[in-house]
């Protein structure tokens, strides 16, 4: 394999890197002294354009390769996931164009893109080393993004918490990976599965698996590694928080599911009862963690008065649902995880976009600031209704189909339809009833008539038209993905 071929395989990533550099260069050379809003818009359009080119490249040049033994695996599934990631980046950029948290739009966008490159490599990696390196490339820009608002103490707190937890988790992860290497002598996922043939649930392997779960658990925001989530979501600038909640989730869930599915699933390990015991071990560990996440995330969200924190706790709950897809460890479940995480990310980005808009208008995101939003900004209110209902899993929105797809895939795993994971699905569906309550609580503030007449005409002028149109577009995407799930499910399924 020569370098030219490698470059071809990594072309989408290269395009994104070039875009980041272009955004920086353009802003540095020709945009000095121009109004901040315009700089943000130009930079944002450049970013979105670059992402679109990368997506178009993947669409036009479908490729299939496994370069350097799992270092860079390119197939239709990874390309779809990368496409979803780029879509999430575009949505994030669109909602951030109206943000006022920084005087350095180009740096913000470039960091966003660098993190995206990390995610794209992460998705394509099937080798422990590459996975770790890519994961760090994802994380480092995100730490900075969380603290990108220099005027807010909460932003600094958010960044610090995120960084400290993240660094610790990375240490655990690295330790776990090295133990796996120690036991199997391999870093490529398929090779690990091969080498595990003779091993049962040995203590060293179990420790390694636990560390792996801890390391990824931080990124995935699952209990008991969720403590940073509400604080970071609350303090980080809205677009930063949105990207942490969406893109990073999708990429990390995908790679985590892939590791578990390829390296540690008994079906792939040369058949022995020991391997089955090993798989059973981590599946039940994840089942417990998933249950805790669903229950704790949903219950804690009930009492929140800040919408950002509410979204934070609901993110923990959604991570619990997604874990069901991981512990089902088969191809159909992986496809469902991708669909769910992508649509969840889109809805979350949209919700943060509305949060951003409300904060600019009213100064904070507490429930009372949302009072009468349906009068002040009817389009944004409608969009928020769509985002929250999608998160709650109300048809015909994408979130509902995601839940159905995921839970059906989870129930199908195991030998001839014996519904082994039924209890987990029951917990998940019943917990989504709880989640409905707090999502509707937000909508209540938006739509219910204010007790005393809140001034409305003055504020209406402050809501930018562009911001509302962007939100409407994101909302339409969610409706479209919900009404025509085949747009995404079709390609995902053909690849299995």
């Amino acid at each position: 394999m020569n370098y030219l071929e490698l470059l071809k395989l990594a072309a989408p990533e290269t395009i994104v890197v070039l875009t980041a550099l272009t955004v920086l260069a353009v802003d540095l050379t020709s945009m000095r002294g121009i109004e901040l809003r315009l700089r943000f818009i130009v930079g944002g359009l450049l970013t979105a354009g670059g992402c679109a080119v990368a997506m178009a490249w993947m669409l036009v040049m479908p490729m299939q390769a496994n370069a350097l033994e799992g270092m860079l695996v390119v197939n239709q599934l990874t390309q779809i996931v990368k496409g979803c990631l780029l879509g999430l980046v575009v949505a994030t950029v669109l909602i951030s164009m109206e943000a006022r948290f920084t005087a350095h739009p180009a740096e913000f966008l470039a960091l966003l893109l660098f993190s995206t490159v990390g995610m794209m490599f992460l998705v394509s990696a099937e080798d422990l080393l590459m996975i770790f390196a890519a994961l760090e490339l994802v994380s480092l820009p995100l730490y900075v993004l969380a603290g990108f608002n220099p005027t807010s103490r909460y932003s600094a707190e958010a960044a610090l918490k995120y960084f400290l937890f993240g660094a610790t988790a990375a240490a655990f992860l690295l330790f776990g990976l090295s133990l796996i290497y120690g036991v199997t002598g391999a870093t490529e996922l398929a090779a690990i599965a091969h080498a595990l043939g003779g091993h049962g649930p040995e203590p060293l392997l179990l420790v390694a698996l636990a560390m792996l779960v801890i390391g990824f658990g931080f990124k995935l925001a699952i209990v008991p590694l969720h403590l940073w989530v509400p604080d970071t979501y609350q303090g980080a600038p809205a677009p930063g928080a949105a990207f942490i909640a969406s893109g990073s989730k999708l990429a990390c869930f995908f790679i985590f599911a892939k590791i578990m599915m390829i390296a540690f699933a008994s079906e792939r390990i040369a058949g022995s009862a020991d391997a089955r015991a090993l798989t059973g071990g981590w599946v039940s560990l994840l089942a417990v963690v998933a249950t805790l996440s669903m229950v704790l995330g949903n219950l804690a969200a009930l009492t929140q008065s800040s919408v950002r924190r509410l979204l934070g706790y609901s993110a923990i709950a959604h991570a619990g649902y997604l874990l069901l897809g991981v512990l089902a460890h088969d191809g159909a479940a992986l496809a469902a995880v991708v669909y769910y995480a992508a649509t969840y990310g889109l809805a979350t980005i949209g919700a943060f976009g509305v949060v951003n808009l409300v904060e600019r208008q009213m100064g904070n995101d507490s429930m009372s600031s949302w009072l009468g939003l349906s009068r002040r900004a009817p389009i944004a209110a409608l969009a928020m209704m769509i985002f929250l209902f999608s998160l709650a899993g109300i048809p015909p929105l994408a979130g509902f189909f995601g839940k159905f797809y995921l839970f059906a895939a989870v129930l199908q795993t195991g030998a001839d339809h014996h519904l082994g994971l039924l209890w987990l699905v029951m917990v998940a569906v019943l917990m989504s009833v709880v989640s409905f309550y707090y999502y509707v609580k937000v909508l209540k503030w938006i739509y219910l008539p204010p007790p005393t007449d809140v001034p409305s005409s003055r504020d209406t002028a402050n809501v930018s038209r562009l911001a509302q149109i962007v939100l409407l577009l994101v909302a339409l995407a969610i409706v479209a993905l919900g009404c025509f799930p085949d747009l995404l499910v079709g390609p995902l399924q053909t690849d299995l």
Binding site: F389, I394, P395, P396, F400, F401, F404, Y405, F407, A408, L411, Q412, H417, L419, L422, V425, M426, V429, L430, S432, V433, F436, Y437, V440, K444, Y447, L448, P449, P485, D486, V489, G490, L492, Q493, T494
Partner: protein, 504 residues
């Protein structure tokens, strides 16, 4: 053709959202046009319908990877309920003609609900059915919480959480049955042919049945219904009692009973007992209510008990009685809520029976009093009205299986007469025995309570009353008009298992 009931409703929503905010009159007329168009399409569908067939309206692959289809179809049961939905929707629009706050949004939510309801009745793909079912649940919250009265936010949240909990149970059941049946179709016609294992049916049946029955107001899951009905604005209570509760009963029949006949066999006595408790309990609670609307709210619980009882009789006469009762209760509950919510409450601003007693409404509003007398008679089961035929059929059907329960139900009917009579007497004919005292009292009261005189009954209200009473009379005098489509539909292959199980 019938699919247009769904499309027209959603197009109506779109049109309403595009209207300018202030155009109250335009919003009303768009609403009226949408509702009438939906009803007329339903009628046209009825005219073309061949009794006994399962009419496939549209069948397209939707998510081919999972075997989900966009499949709308109708049999006699669906058709009856589509007709009911059309009538109830039209009535609701007519009886909310006086609504002036956020009219546009009100009707947008209203027709989202209607569209969802039509969709449920016409879906033969269970995934699609569930989608429409949830679409019908969500707008209820906003309708009640924004435009409602007594404790509206509490009632709205309670209602929606109950409904959502029920639909969660249904969703678990649907996913499980989808997987057990091989995960390649949600088509109810194909699933009805799939022999689900007995052990699966034993737990899946109660799960799905109870999930739907919550919305049907089955005791002891009924408590959302009275509070919700009372808090809802008139049009919404008409829809809630008239149509939404039928969604639950329809789901029980179409999904739980059709797919899990063995589960039904095992659980049917329990359902029958709960249904009869609902009939008697609802009636007894209605007897002691102080709020006029609560009387109607609890009477709905009582009448829906008949539907549930009819469903588990598993013979053609009982089942068709249940479907007929759905239609009849939909019309009559709608009418009663219209009388209480629109005609009385909007004018007198009170629903307390003791306060109404002093107002001598039979003199002030003779039209309303007459309407309520007729509707009340129809609702307690006077021959000549739809309620009589329906309840009679249910009881005949139930007699073969549960004679004791039928006797208890008889007591419930008697209490039904009592509470209707009590409400009628208190609300309209209060204190008629002492004319001298009362005339002075009432004139005092009128000057005290409202400087505004009671506004006259408007034209839309009169049209609505005629429409609903006419429908009830038509079905009561000539039940064959509906039975000719309902009865043959129980011979369709859809009910094969049920026939084998229950000797239908």
């Amino acid at each position: 053709m019938l699919a247009w009931t769904v499309y027209i409703s959603f197009l109506g929503v779109l049109a309403l959202m595009l209207l300018p905010q202030r155009q109250v009159a335009a919003a009303r007329w768009v609403a009226l046009a949408t509702a009438s168009a939906g009803w007329l399409v339903g009628l046209a569908g009825y005219a073309q319908f061949q009794a006994g067939e399962i009419l496939t309206i549209i069948k397209r692959p939707w998510v081919p990877a999972l075997g989900l289809e966009y499949h709308l179809a109708a049999d006699g049961v669906s058709l009856t309920l589509v007709l009911l939905t059309g009538l109830a929707a039209l009535g609701g629009v007519l009886f909310s003609w006086n609504l002036t706050t956020r009219t546009r949004e009100f009707f947008a939510f209203y027709f989202t609900l209607i569209g969802g309801v039509y969709g449920v009745f016409l879906s033969f793909d269970l995934f699609l059915l569930f989608v429409f079912y949830e679409i019908a649940i969500v707008p209820k919250y906003f309708l009640i919480a924004i435009w409602g009265s007594t404790r509206r936010e509490y009632a709205a949240m309670k209602l929606v959480l109950y409904s959502f909990f029920g639909s969660a149970l249904v969703l678990i059941g649907l996913i499980a049955l989808y997987v057990v049946a091989g995960a390649h179709t949600m088509n109810v016609l194909e699933l009805a042919r799939h022999p689900f294992p007995h052990s699966f049916q034993i737990w899946a049946f109660p799960l799905v049945f109870v999930g739907f029955a919550i919305l049907a107001g089955m005791w002891p899951f009924h408590t959302w219904a009275p509070t919700g009905h009372v808090a809802a604005p008139t049009a919404a209570s008409m829809l809630l009692a008239g149509v939404v509760m039928k969604l639950g009963a329809y789901g029980c029949l179409r999904v739980a009973m059709t797919l899990f006949p063995e589960g039904l066999e095992a659980w049917k006595t329990w359902v029958a007992v709960l249904a009869v408790i609902g009939i008697v309990y609802g009636a007894m609670v209605a007897l002691v209510q102080k709020d006029f609307k609560f009387v109607i709210g609890y009477s709905s619980v009582s009448h829906m008990g008949f539907v549930m009882l009819g469903l588990v009789t598993l013979n053609t006469i009982g089942l068709s009685g249940a479907v007929l009762q759905m239609f009849s209760h939909g019309i009559l509950a709608g009418l009663l809520f219209a009388v209480v919510g629109r005609m009385v409450y909007d004018r007198t601003h009170t629903r307390e029976l003791t306060t109404l007693e002093g107002m001598r409404l039979s003199r002030v509003m003779p039209f309303v009093a007459t309407t309520f007398v007729i509707a009340g008679m129809a609702s307690m089961g006077l021959p000549g009205f739809s309620g009589f035929v329906a309840e009679l059929q249910v009881l005949i059907g139930a007699w073969q299986l549960y004679p004791t329960l039928v006797v208890i139900t008889g007591v419930g009917i008697l209490i039904g007469v009592a509470y209707t009579w009590r409400a009628m007497q208190k609300a309209f004919f209060g204190g008629a025995g002492e004319p001298g005292y009362n005339s002075s009292h009432s004139s005092e009261h009128e000057t005290g309570a409202g400087v505004e005189p009671i506004p006259p009954i408007s034209i839309p209200e009169r049209i609505g009353v005629v429409l609903l009473i006419g429908a009830s009379l038509a079905v009561g005098l000539y039940p064959k008009v509906l039975l000719q489509v309902i009865v043959p539909s129980f011979d369709s292959p859809l009910f094969d298992w049920l026939r084998k199980g229950g000797g239908l």
